[in-house]
């Protein structure tokens, strides 16, 4: 048999009907995650057509995108202040009850950002096809799953049929040789990859991250990398499962136990790409040459090392971006003033990210004039962080410590950045207006965000760690 890539194995195992020149494949979906923002219209479509949810045992809903991060509104009996958010939450609660879908509800201790709780609960497993009405579904690819974001009509389609109509994407290997130097993180790595590929460089492809640097990453770090695959235009990103993956999964609530575990494990071990499997493309990077990275423009491909400069010239898009950001061509990035720092999101809202931030905040204070918001990715992350006393470090530094949710990643719950203000954010998108109209977002790692918080300027976090 010909050598196959991991993507091809997962894809062909889920093809109910193969694609033809004129029709896309009918792909079976193993896990469908839904949330309050992209599901209401999908449930309406089902209701209008008199259709049930096809497979309740493959569908899990939660509340994260527009939920408040303020304790009072979640647990204090205070109604959700933002009317739009309250409506979306109530609508999903009603839809879940009506259709019988499992809902990890507002006050559940398992609630959190959909891409954080999937892995945490062990719902995310190697070899699964996973979809969700959110672009950063690619996060789950860190486990060797084929996971991608879908639109609301597709959400309705999966609810009604448990299948998706898809054209088979091409494959691209992203080989990262060497090791990341100390103080350079997975976020810096993925920003460097996007910088190299460009925001549409991965269009139509599924990326497989591989190489020494990737193998050395923890599951949390692999999730950070896969999370941002979509920012290079890719359909999905994957990392082959290995001992790190199995160790992470073993014993989690939704992972098979006993004999079923052994059987699953034997299957998972077959997933990695066969030696010599051909990819349509390959991009090669050397991790050992990388530095902390930060974006300076209005898409994640507009990125440079912290020690670097904004390019000195560019096209129309470049000029528009600088205009929006209030930057000049050729300026150095280090030393730029910062107003807001956001730590959180499905990119960097896990325990390891919060530990990074605490390493820098411990014994220091958030600079005068800077607002720092730290939002754990899930209630479990929150509990674990508090058990380690990280919340005390954050609070005594003057940062705001919240309940879990997407929060300032997309600013739908009222946590927004004011127009014209500079926000160093650990999230994944720096588009115009993403964090609030006129908000100027600079994407960076948790360490870089923390360094900016304590100095008030873009600062190399390695200076504060030595």
């Amino acid at each position: 048999m010909t050598a196959r890539t991991m993507f091809e194995k997962v894809w062909s195992a889920h093809e109910v009907v193969q694609e033809t020149a004129d029709t896309p494949a009918v792909l079976y979906i193993d896990l469908h995650l839904t949330h309050e923002v992209t599901s209401p219209q999908a449930f309406s479509v089902l209701r209008a057509g008199g259709l049930p949810v096809r497979r309740l045992d493959r569908t899990v809903a939660t509340l994260d995108h527009s939920t408040p991060t303020d304790r009072e509104q979640i647990f204090g009996g205070v109604p959700i202040k933002l009317e739009s958010a309250r409506k979306q939450v109530e609508q999903l609660e009603r839809n879940a009850a009506e259709f019988g879908v499992e809902l990890i509800g507002l006050r559940s201790d398992k609630r959190g950002i959909v891409h954080i709780i999937g892995p945490e609960l062990g719902l995310t497993q190697p070899g699964k096809t996973i979809v969700c009405g959110d672009s950063h579904t690619s996060t789950h690819g860190a486990f060797g799953a084929l996971a991608f974001g879908i639109g609301t009509t597709e959400v309705g389609h999966v609810l009604a049929t448990q299948c998706l109509l898809q054209r088979k994407p091409r494959t691209c290997a992203v080989t990262v040789n060497g090791r990341l130097p100390a103080g350079v993180t997975a976020k810096d790595l993925v920003l460097a990859i996007i910088g190299r590929m460009g925001v549409s460089g991965g269009t139509g492809h599924v990326l497989e991250y591989r190489g020494e640097a990737i193998r050395a990453l923890s599951m949390e770090e692999r999730m950070t990398v896969c999370n941002m695959s979509i920012e290079a235009g890719a359909r999905a990103g994957m990392v082959a499962p290995d001992e790190t993956t199995y160790a992470y999964l073993k014993g989690r609530p939704r992972v098979p136990q006993g004999e079923a575990w052994d059987r699953a494990l034997a299957e998972w071990r077959q997933l990695p790409s066969d030696p010599g499997a051909a990819f349509d493309r390959e991009v090669v990077l050397d991790a050992s040459t990388l530095e902390p990275m930060i974006t300076w423009g209005t898409n994640p491909g507009m990125v440079a090392p912290l020690s670097g400069h904004i390019p000195s010239s560019g096209d129309d898009v470049f000029r528009k971006a600088l205009d929006y950001m209030g930057f000049e061509p050729g300026e150095p990035l280090a030393g730029k003033k910062v107003d807001v720092v956001f730590v959180g999101s499905c990119t960097n809202g896990r325990l390891n990210d919060l530990r990074e931030v605490a390493r820098i905040l411990r014994g220091r204070r958030v600079a005068r004039g800077v607002t720092m918001l730290i939002v754990p990715g899930s209630q479990q992350v929150k509990r674990e962080a508090e058990a380690e006393g990280l919340d005390q470090v954050f609070k005594s530094a003057g940062a705001d410590w919240r309940e879990s949710g997407c929060s300032m990643c997309l600013g739908m719950n009222g946590d927004t950045v004011q127009a014209g203000k500079y926000s160093v954010s650990t999230s994944n998108r720096n588009f115009e207006g993403r964090q609030g109209k006129g908000a100027r977002t600079l994407l960076a790692s948790p360490a870089t965000a923390a360094a900016a918080a304590v100095t008030g300027f873009i600062t190399d976090p390695r200076e504060l760690l030595s």
């Binding site: 009918v26 479509v45 974001g149 009604a160 299948c163 549409s200 207006g433």
Partner: protein, 206 residues
């Protein structure tokens, strides 16, 4: 869904690269739990002067004289990139757009267009520049034609281009078909798959 056969209408040029879904519909405008009520928020960040306000920015293409009633949008590379949020396409549809012409689209956005009765037309950047130039001279008097039956895009000055589209997407748009209807025709194959899969990967169903 509304069927699409052929349309001759005013076209609005917004030819810049990477027009993302946050620009098409900022998240603060995306509050509804239905597919309607979004047209007002379309391009809100560019279309209005104030944050969250409604005073038109006279410089934005849709507010300029001659572009009232635009039904066709001329866009740049990687149109609709960014989020999978379908609200962007609903906002375009509710505003009245029925076709978007661009050199390339984000694949998610492209699919969302087809499923919502908007024809996504891929034309070379140079053709779009020529069409935009013709339109800009006198928008109201230079309506473009998108003919899905004949697979052609044209302008009154005689410019004409082939409209590339997959047969299935074309059929869905022509017939106003819903994807769920199409897939449920395969119900037997799906049930077979499910039964086989359940035997082979029982842990998935725990």
């Amino acid at each position: 869904m509304r069927k699409f056969t052929t349309l001759t209408a005013v076209a609005a040029p917004l030819v810049r690269a990477n027009v993302d879904t946050d620009a098409i519909i900022p998240s603060r405008e995306m509050k509804a739990v239905s597919k309607t009520g979004l047209a007002e928020g379309l391009f809100a960040g560019w279309r209005y002067i104030e944050i969250g306000g409604r005073e038109p920015n006279p410089e934005f293409v849709l507010n300029r004289p001659g572009y009232a009633g635009a039904r066709i949008l001329l866009g740049g590379e990687n149109f609709g990139c960014g989020s999978s949020r379908e609200h962007a396409v609903w906002a375009l549809a509710e505003y009245g757009f029925r076709a978007v012409i661009a050199p390339s689209f984000s694949p998610i956005f492209y699919g969302n267009c087809v499923r919502n009765g908007i024809v996504p037309v891929k034309l070379p950047a140079q053709a779009i520049a020529l069409l935009a130039a013709a339109v800009e001279r006198d928008p109201a008097a230079t309506p473009l034609t998108v003919d899905l039956v004949a697979r052609k895009v044209g302008a009154p000055d005689g410019q004409s281009y082939d409209l590339p589209i997959e047969a299935e997407a074309r059929e869905m748009l022509l017939e106003g078909l819903d994807g769920i209807d199409l897939t449920l025709k395969q119900r037997a194959a799906i049930e077979d798959f499910h039964a086989r899969d359940r035997a082979e990967r029982p842990w998935i169903y725990l």
